[in-house]
Assembly symmetry: C2
Homo-oligomer: 334 residues x 2
Amino acid sequence: MASRKNYYVGVDLGGTSLRAMVVDEKYRLLASEKVRTPVGQKPRVTIAKMAEVIKAALGSAAIRSGNVAAVSVGAPGTINARHGVVEQAPNLGWTNVPLASELRQRLGVPVRVDNDVNVGMMGEYALGAGRGAKDLVGIFVGTGIGGALIINGKLFEGACGGAGEIGHTVILVNGPLCHCGHRGCAEALASRTAMERDVRAAIQSGQKSLVPKIMRKKGHTRMTSSVIQSALNKHDRVMEEVFKRAQYYLGILVANAVNLLDPERVVIGGGIAARLRDEFVAAIRETAYEYFIHAGRARAVKILPGKLDDDAGPLGAVVLARRGAGVEQGTLKK
Amino acid sequence: MASRKNYYVGVDLGGTSLRAMVVDEKYRLLASEKVRTPVGQKPRVTIAKMAEVIKAALGSAAIRSGNVAAVSVGAPGTINARHGVVEQAPNLGWTNVPLASELRQRLGVPVRVDNDVNVGMMGEYALGAGRGAKDLVGIFVGTGIGGALIINGKLFEGACGGAGEIGHTVILVNGPLCHCGHRGCAEALASRTAMERDVRAAIQSGQKSLVPKIMRKKGHTRMTSSVIQSALNKHDRVMEEVFKRAQYYLGILVANAVNLLDPERVVIGGGIAARLRDEFVAAIRETAYEYFIHAGRARAVKILPGKLDDDAGPLGAVVLARRGAGVEQGTLKK
């Protein structure tokens, strides 16, 4: 019994924070640790930090690594899941980092790595807003816009593992420039970064907004979800207009995906959805319904905010690690 | 042996013509019939005509209906494939027509019905431009723009059978009005109908074009693929510009689908592609490659014109009818 491997560590390697959750095979949370992601460091420093956080979480849970079935990591960027390599992660400044093997050496347990959006979507599918559906589209709105598809209960990764780049759907040919170098991508129209750009432009052009004051008060240099929420609560006109426009574009993005894929459900995840829930999603849903081509049928498509918030990543990573045993949908026990 | 059911009839119920092909289980073509689709008639008249054409084709092939395993029909519009019902077919003026059961009564053989685009894509997958690939996106450009997805060798129809409506992907928010009532759909930007609208507008605004003369000469009231081809051959400037713009939009449409689904291959079918092949597809491919988000990987995605042309429909219908036996990819024997 002493060496039964029935514990899992789910890790979310985010651009700002690094989280590890220890759960048992029924997703009961045993311990959780969170630190700031090292900034401007070499990969080995960040990986050492990850190992440390994972060990600390296991320590809090009083679980020995011999009882750990797997450590499963969600990482940003282009991931080669088969080999556990982070191929490209611009946010971290990483190129071809063999994260799985590096962590495995340090921890002595099997490690798997997948894309953070895929991982988060898998969490929502198995334990959150996706429960009860088998075909899902996930759209994660944050500094960028990420996407993930679940088809017939399985993560759909495409022929080369590159599926899900819904943020780079061009919905406005010749629209604003995107980080990817193209114009008119959804990400350039409706991400938090795009909203911030539009708010700043409105202020620049002479419109009054409380956003800069709110940012100073909160000590933020970026227009975070919490800043957006405060500005909306104060009925800031610039924020309201920018937010409404982003919702409209996201509604069209959802409709494009539904018209192509006819899923049962669409989950809108990410920081803004976590904070504002239906205050964010309701208007997206309304526009999407308007743009559905099979009007009668498609109203049956549920469009929901994510439920797991920050836990979607670590928990989804565990769900993926356990995929060999089949991904059952369940309830999260805390 | 006399009653071995090893023959199939594939039928394409198009807005202009009605075709039936008799093939054996190895897709060897035994007979083919084609008539004009009755216009402005009640469904029963058209169905009677279909039965007549099917019987004529079987007669030419000297096959008795007792040896027919199935008749399989591709029909335009929204189809309930499970029940063989044409739910909505605006081109035909049909609503909730139980086509499969009506034909079955007249012919005494099993009948299945599916959407014409799905059926055409299945033909290309099994016998045409899709051979060798398992994950495909099909885009059929004609008077409208239809789409079909094949995932892991199977037609992907979505949760409610409505998947594939790629023509109604909005790629230019607030763009030109589409037949569907929305603005900026790919169909409103790059279908043959959209091209014709743009050519007419250019002429209206004073630009010179040979298109009206070519149409008169050919006796066409619409800008058909053959008119487009003639105008391009004569280096008609208006046609060239309109064509190029449509190709650009189609390239973006392809990129959107590839970024989301990461297929192995994209097949561009329909009348223009059948007539112009790479003269149509090359520029679409170039723009698509430019807009791929995983630049390195995605160049591996082949973007090809359809190969089967008018036969894609009837043959694909047979492929779908035989799906129970697994959809093997093969070679068409004529």
